[in-house]
Symmetry: C2
Subunit: 305 residues, 2 copies
């Protein structure tokens, strides 16, 4: 990728990601037919998957592939799959039995539109379909199979019961626990940072990166992820609901453990700032080639939604 303008490069990435998602999950017009996704299920999956997410995770997968192996052709399906996993986690998080949210990205949440049962299945469906797509794609290139499977395995670990789901679990349980920095760091690391680190490590696996490169990317991902979550919590206190596309003040209403509630808004801002700097520092071994990741961090650190 020769284009080093961040805005246009990210626009190009997003376009490719949307195209891949559309290709993997096209509209289904029939109620049901063997070998097709049932119409209602497909609509529910597409409703949340194509709801205008920022596509941060898939973009990271493409950008690191470009950085490490100069192309991202075999990264497109894993990138799209990662977005399916991210989307399923949001659908399930919003359910009445979990966070009970009725607004997401400015639109009614999945269960509000499709009903709880179909929303549960849409989430299950996106998670399973992510693996289905990645596995099928991997089988198309037998020569690269080992690297592909390692990449899928990275994603599975990050999304799983010692990764994102572990974070969701403790997040949910923490509403009834004494707040502590230890718990909060655990939640942010696993609920948010793990799935932001997954695309970096998946790309590293696809490109056969060195251990040094891998641990630099891991450091970057962890810092970005925790800073991102602290900012999220800050936006819930100080953000604009109209810009955010979701209600603010929800964490306080639910007495949720957050960085601002634990250490105060000012200290949370400082911690976020420190982490964004550490993320940038982690990229030093890549030199100029990490320009996109650097810009991405700059961009995210100033976000208002």
């Amino acid at each position: 990728m020769l284009n080093r303008n961040f805005e246009s490069a990210s626009r190009d990435y997003v376009q490719e990601i949307e195209k891949t998602l559309e290709m993997l999950l096209p509209e289904s017009s029939r109620d049901f037919a063997d070998g097709e996704i049932p119409g209602n299920l497909c609509r529910a999956m597409r409703y949340s998957l194509l709801a205008g997410g920022k596509r941060i995770r898939p973009m990271l997968l493409l950008a690191v592939s470009d950085m490490l192996c100069g192309s991202h052709d075999n990264a497109l399906v894993p990138a799209a799959a990662l977005e399916m996993i991210h989307t399923y986690s949001l659908i399930h998080d919003d359910l009445p039995g979990m966070d009970n949210d009725d607004l997401r990205r400015g639109k009614p949440t999945n269960h509000v539109v499709f009903g709880e049962g179909q929303a549960i299945l849409a989430g299950d469906g996106l998670l399973n379909y992510a693996y289905e797509c990645m596995l099928k794609e991997a089988m198309h290139s037998p020569a690269a199979l080992q690297r592909s499977v390692k990449a899928i395995s990275c994603i599975a670990s990050a999304a799983g019961v010692t990764g994102m789901i572990a974070g969701q679990c403790i997040d949910l349980l923490s509403e009834h626990q004494v707040p502590s920095e230890e718990i909060l760091r655990y939640i942010h690391t696993h609920k948010t940072a793990d799935l932001l680190t997954a695309p970096l490590l998946a790309a590293a696996a696809l490109c056969g990166a060195t251990d040094e490169e891998e641990s630099a990317l891991r450091r970057y991902g962890l810092c970005v992820g925790i800073a991102f979550q602290i900012d999220d919590d800050l936006l819930d206190v100080t953000g604009d609901a109209a810009i955010l596309g979701k209600k603010t003040g929800m964490d306080a209403e639910r007495e949720k453990m957050t960085w601002p509630s634990l250490v105060g808004v000012e200290a949370a801002r400082n911690e976020s700032k420190r982490l964004w700097q550490e993320a940038e520092d982690a990229l030093s071994i890549f030199g100029e080639s990490a320009w996109f990741l650097k810009k991405m961090a700059e961009n995210l650190s100033g976000r208002q939604k």
Copy 2:
């Protein structure tokens, strides 16, 4: 496997499956710690996974591996993973937003014990962990990687949005639709038969079976699956709740579309009988070596729970 006594052979299989499940998902004593499954999540996953299921699907995977390649060492993890997938589908099916069941295998359902949020996560966790375990295991044997990935891919398709989840979706929607044989056959094929066929096709992939063997197994799986589901519906009408470990008469109460409700109890019994016979016929190409599959069908066709 030289032991051709069905009872003792299936007891041995079940023992190996339980051991593998216990190895993959041991108890976790700590509330949370990096690299570990959180204690509460682990308990919720184990509660349903180790609730004394019949282990039909994993048994089929081991038995077909023994039949086609004379061993089942590399089939144990996929077999256990398949049981995780089956279990996750039951946990989610039982949720208030789906079938709203409070009893399963004679015990309170997952969300009754752990709460809805944790039950959703336990289900998500089991689904994702199934892939995590299979992928890790596959990477241990690079020489067999292609076959392993094909097997995992079979399972993913069967469990997914054109397989089991498609069946669950139409099952849920059908409560408000005009009953028809077409819909009902679709539901039984995908909700039940697909995940019973998955272990057969996964074992075929692991052993590099011929197309002829594969389609015979597919036929057997489809017939067993639909007959199994018809029997399930019949048991809901005529079975004993104490033996079943769950309430009877629930389908009628929910006005659920079932074979007995569509064609009557007698015709449903005949269709089931015909399918059990067709399942047995499908095995003819394997001769004596299919003795376990044959016995399994005989055994299931007479079940009271």
